[in-house]
Symmetry: C2
Subunit: 689 residues, 2 copies
């Protein structure tokens, strides 16, 4: 009996060790801010004057900053005992910060200062980034001020909780339980935004419902504004242009009608009573079915200025979108916004900002910049980017958008000497990729796009590579192999999506409605410009959209120096070749291969790049927490399969037109064209409704 | 300078203490299972034979069980070294468990056993409940077997991620990333269900889409089944009856057509290849627009038996809902299901279960039990309860449903001596209240309804009070004041909702579509039985639905002893008075007051009970973690306001009919009837689409 017991005990002990159930790791909720550090070893934080904002700055440092050789002081530049330091903080403006080791009474202090409480908050987050990246605070001296004054998220969130083009779960805003219940997550959201310098958020969809301006919803927006205020974040709302009819019972929404103007003035007054620092309205007018001033023969400037007048007494801003194209306008869709808005330059009130998408079509994996940048010198402009990946694989595909943002912001407009797109901006908007998913953005790597948007909005001169490294270190820690590998994956990722969806400037080849899979063959949608064939114009002879003088002459909307380069395929950047030119399949590319051969090579390269990312990620299995590793690995598996699907479907279709063989070594598509055409996605997330 | 520094330092130190930012507490994700305990002090767990299920049982005990005087052994009853114990486990069946202190080789061991791995798992969770409630394990001897073999959740989850009548966020199932990505939350879901004995889950909405039966969705369901299997949980799917037309291209879905039967047989075969332990189909047929066998003149039995034949070779079950009522049937809606199904008793195949809602209408805060219970002795029946609070205030109102479930399960059918509803059941289904909200069910107290459903499904003889205490201790810990207060709140909560929405058996007075606020005045909807006025039949003289022989004679569907009591208002239980009788406003109630006066008193009581709950909760502020306390407090504030709204709107409307004054001391409604009629909820959650 004793021997038997001993044997059992041995077996038990062995099994006890084996029978562990895998532990949960990091679910990604902490974003780049990570979990709280052990406060017992924290830094000494000094706060001469408290405020809700300064308190948050102090709490951040107490939560995450390790012990430092010197105390950290958080104080605005007008604090009395900073006077003797004689700091010149004028260049910091309202939001810029200074982090500098100073002596206060012979004692070394790491001073975090600025001309406002929120500047100090931004400085605190900057100091955290600095320290958490392993940098020394000895003789620290960092000064930074934002290049663009308004740095906004645009939430395309509907009042029913759905999110148009959202792939990270429901809307964060639980309108049903607001204003009574303020989910602690609202605070976490504002904190994350403040940490990267976002200073405004548009709560609801540009495809707006008038109800968002009713008293119950304004009370709810006000509750969110109360949560966001200490973090330096202002609330904006979209405004449905016909709201005076729908809510006010007026017969018209004509912006020139005094009753309409009075209705908006009263509405603005009502809003500011609830939200004294309300940011303003974002308006999608006369675009894709939305009402607007053109319904009454008035101009976009008439509409925007009427709203701007209502906001002016309160200091609010109108963001008026330039994303317009008309089913009655037969000209190249890429030209229509410029044609409509360029003549209005100088006609907008000074609290109007015209918000222009980064490219002339619609958030494609790659577009040339919009010709309006630099072309409206007497108008304040905003650039609108999409952080959510409507056309880049939704939440599952890994596509780091830092390079996309950077490419657009750094582009020379050609309109003024050395002028970049970034230099033309009074505001920047990013269509949010945020929802109620636990990891906020649908994947860990999608968090990097939110991060990169904020960082570039603050400082467009940062490189996307620098941001990728910085984000990786904040998110995964300072393991050099992780940082190097993650950064390398990120930097190849967006180009991979371009390659497997539409190389050489091909665009808008997505299946309709869902915008997920390939649909280059689609030609039967009602409006011509809804069809992929409108954009690629491929036939048996060639492919591409002739936007030169022999075609739509969209190049004529760019500055002459730019237009001259785009006029000829030889001088057009290869990544925009087929955006601007219709070329034969046999067009000789630099190096001698045909266009067709080069296209196939790019598709194959896109597929190979995803496989390369998978392999890179596999090397990090033991270096990244299990939960984030496994989800990313699963998503890369999806992306690998779907990159191949994109490549195969596209090539099969092109071959049905050009009847050319695949170059040697390029594998045949897995299915015939009919199979690809049959794929359906009836419940794809993010579709508008 | 030194004094100044000292002064500054003093101020700093003071402020450093003050400037703490409130810390996050418990977000409710852990449900009643709580956070993991410190494993360093854990119990000794012995596992003679491992399996995925036993491993999970062992992990649970290692995670949460404190050190015990004896080792715990997890073993099925056929384990070789249990033979000498000569345990009689026959009465335990397949799922029942035994927890008993035994001697194995003179060593005391707490044995957790049963006739299957899942029985051991259930035993492990039972042991955990026992210990976490502070009970001793000395001479422990617990044997328990489930009273109802199939204990199912029904998810009304749509393929687009929305949840019909769901108030806790999106569907848990992320169909878009399945089957590639298995969210760890799927495992947590299964674990929580296993801990309360749930052994099956219907993944999708009874208002079904045919697409749920296509290959892509079956692969996704199979991935979930793989996660759930070790937890003893089988996957079921709803089946759209017309799928052979929509997916198979057949001209008919007539269940008597051999091609239709062959299509379903092939579909069942396909499913079982992917999910060998697939549970079966849940079907809503010929109900609220859903297709079904009646479309072809065939009976519900014809339809159910055809599907049952397809599942029979694989051991699957058809759950066929009895929730039918027809716009072509002018008789009392409460009678129609019985009229249609009672004649089919004995005609259903033995792998068909007819699933009957607890009451004859639709999940009202209170209904009498459905007359079909006990009336189909030759048919297997399931009771369908709603755990989600479609008619009880969505996620925000606190309404513990244990008493509602208990009341129905304990009701005598009158059909056989001593027979309760529970005794008639071969299955029990609960319409889930679970979504992607962090706390799963939209509030902490909603978690108790999920818990109570599972516990009562296992053992309908448990009292709802016992379950409330047990849940409170698992959820909030063993602080006696918390347990007592929480239990007291829970036990008064459902009756409060009954009182402020519809006392004395009034029902279905909700605004249409949203089913949230009061709409007793609504009379203009297309089908008569969609209108609240259909149910209350109030006019200047009286109120209530005459279901006696002088009216619809619905009472004739109950057993004669029951019907005899219901025939007269004097012998009808007061809580069902107006369900069965139309009575004058001046009808004298027991004790002498008029019906109207008694009604007003109940409305006022409902409002007062919510205020009482608020006060009780306030006493727990320092005893419950901050996050769960604050959310519950905010929700109770909403409920208090809305209880008053319900009371005021209802009384205002009744007074517009009966022109009676309010009894002395009862406060006048806050608004006039027109105001209440104007309230709109265009974006209420959970509406079908």
């Amino acid at each position: 009996m004793t021997r038997r017991r001993a044997a059992i005990a041995l077996v038990m002990a062995t099994l006890a060790c084996l029978a562990t159930y895998p532990a949960r790791a990091d679910d990604g909720y902490g974003l780049w801010l990570g979990p709280a550090a052990d406060t017992a070893t924290g830094a000494e934080i000094e706060v001469p004057r408290r405020s809700p904002t300064i308190d948050r700055a102090a709490a951040e440092l107490r939560r995450s900053l390790p012990h430092l050789p010197a105390a950290v002081m958080l104080a605005t530049s007008n604090a009395s005992h900073l006077v003797m330091l004689d700091l010149d903080t004028r260049a910091l403006g309202h939001e810029g910060y200074l982090i500098r080791e100073v002596k206060i009474g012979n004692r070394p202090v790491i001073l975090v200062t600025g001309n406002s409480d929120v500047a100090v908050l931004y400085g605190a987050f900057s100091l955290l980034r600095h320290v958490r990246a392993g940098e020394s605070t000895a003789a620290i001296n960092i000064a930074s001020a934002p290049a663009i004054p308004l740095r906004l998220l645009n939430h395309w969130d509907n009042l029913d909780g759905s999110v148009e083009r959202g792939y990270a779960g429901q809307s964060l805003w639980d309108w049903w339980t607001l204003p009574d219940f303020k989910d602690p997550r609202y605070d976490d959201y504002a904190r994350a935004n403040a940490s990267i310098g976002i200073n405004g958020t548009v709560l609801n969809n540009v495809n707006a419902k008038a109800e968002s301006l009713t008293a119950p919803y304004l009370a709810r927006a006000a509750a969110l504004a109360d949560v966001f205020r200490p973090w330096g974040i202002r609330v904006y709302l979209t405004a449905r242009f016909s709201a005076p009819i729908e809510l006010g019972g007026l017969k018209t929404a004509d912006p020139r009608d005094p009753a309409v103007a009075a209705w908006w003035q009263a509405k603005a007054d009502e809003i500011y009573r609830l939200i004294p620092d309300f940011g303003g309205f974002l308006v999608k007018a006369n675009s894709e079915g939305q009402p607007g001033p053109r319904d009454y023969g008035a101009s976009h400037a008439d509409g925007a200025n009427m709203l701007a007048a209502a906001l002016r007494p309160h200091g609010g801003t109108v963001l008026w979108r330039a994303f317009v194209y008309a089913d009655t306008d037969p000209t190249d869709r890429a030209k229509q916004a410029y044609s409509e808005f360029r003549p209005l330059d100088g006609k907008f009130a000074d609290n109007v900002i015209v918000q222009v998408k980064n490219g002339p079509i619609d958030f494609q994996p790659r577009e040339p910049v919009h010709p309006l940048f630099g072309a409206m010198p007497r108008t304040r402009l905003a650039a609108e980017f999409q952080i959510t990946k409507e056309y880049l694989g939704f939440a599952t595909h890994l596509a780091y958008l830092g390079p996309l943002f950077e490419e657009a912001l750094d582009t020379q407009t050609g309109q003024a000497r050395g002028q970049t797109v970034a230099a033309t901006l009074g505001a920047i908007s990013g269509v949010a990729n945020i929802g109620r998913d636990r990891d906020w953005a649908g994947s860990t790597f999608n968090q990097a796009n939110w991060y990169a948007f904020g960082r570039l909005a603050w400082d467009p001169k940062l490189s996307s590579q620098t941001i990728a490294r910085e984000w990786s270190r904040q998110t995964f820690g300072n393991d050099a192999q992780v940082t190097d590998t993650v950064t390398a994956m990120m930097l190849r990722s967006r180009e991979a999506v371009v390659d497997y969806t539409g190389p050489f400037g091909l665009a808008h080849l997505f299946g309709p409605d869902h915008h997920y899979g390939p649909g280059p063959w689609i030609a039967d949608l009602k409006r011509p410009e809804w069809n992929p064939v409108y954009y690629h114009r491929a036939d048996s002879d060639g492919i591409g959209f002739d936007r030169t003088a022999s075609g739509s002459n969209a190049i004529g909307q760019y500055a002459p120096t730019i237009a001259a380069r785009l006029a000829r395929p030889e001088t057009t950047p290869p990544q925009f070749l087929l955006w601007f030119h219709h070329l034969p399949w046999t067009y000789p590319m630099p190096g001698g291969e045909t266009l067709w051969s080069a296209m196939v090579r790019r598709y194959d390269h896109g597929v190979a790049e995803v496989e390369a990312m998978r392999k890179q990620w596999a090397t990090l299995k033991s270096r990244v927490d299990a939960e984030r590793w496994a989800k990313t690995d699963a998503y890369l598996g999806i992306q690998a399969r779907e990159a191949r699907w994109w490549r195969d479907a596209s090539l099969t279709y092109w071959m049905s037109l050009n009847h050319l063989p695949l170059p040697a070594g390029s594998p045949p598509p897995a299915h015939d064209l009919a199979w690809y055409k049959q794929q359906r996605f009836p419940f794809a997330p993010g579709a508008p409704h």
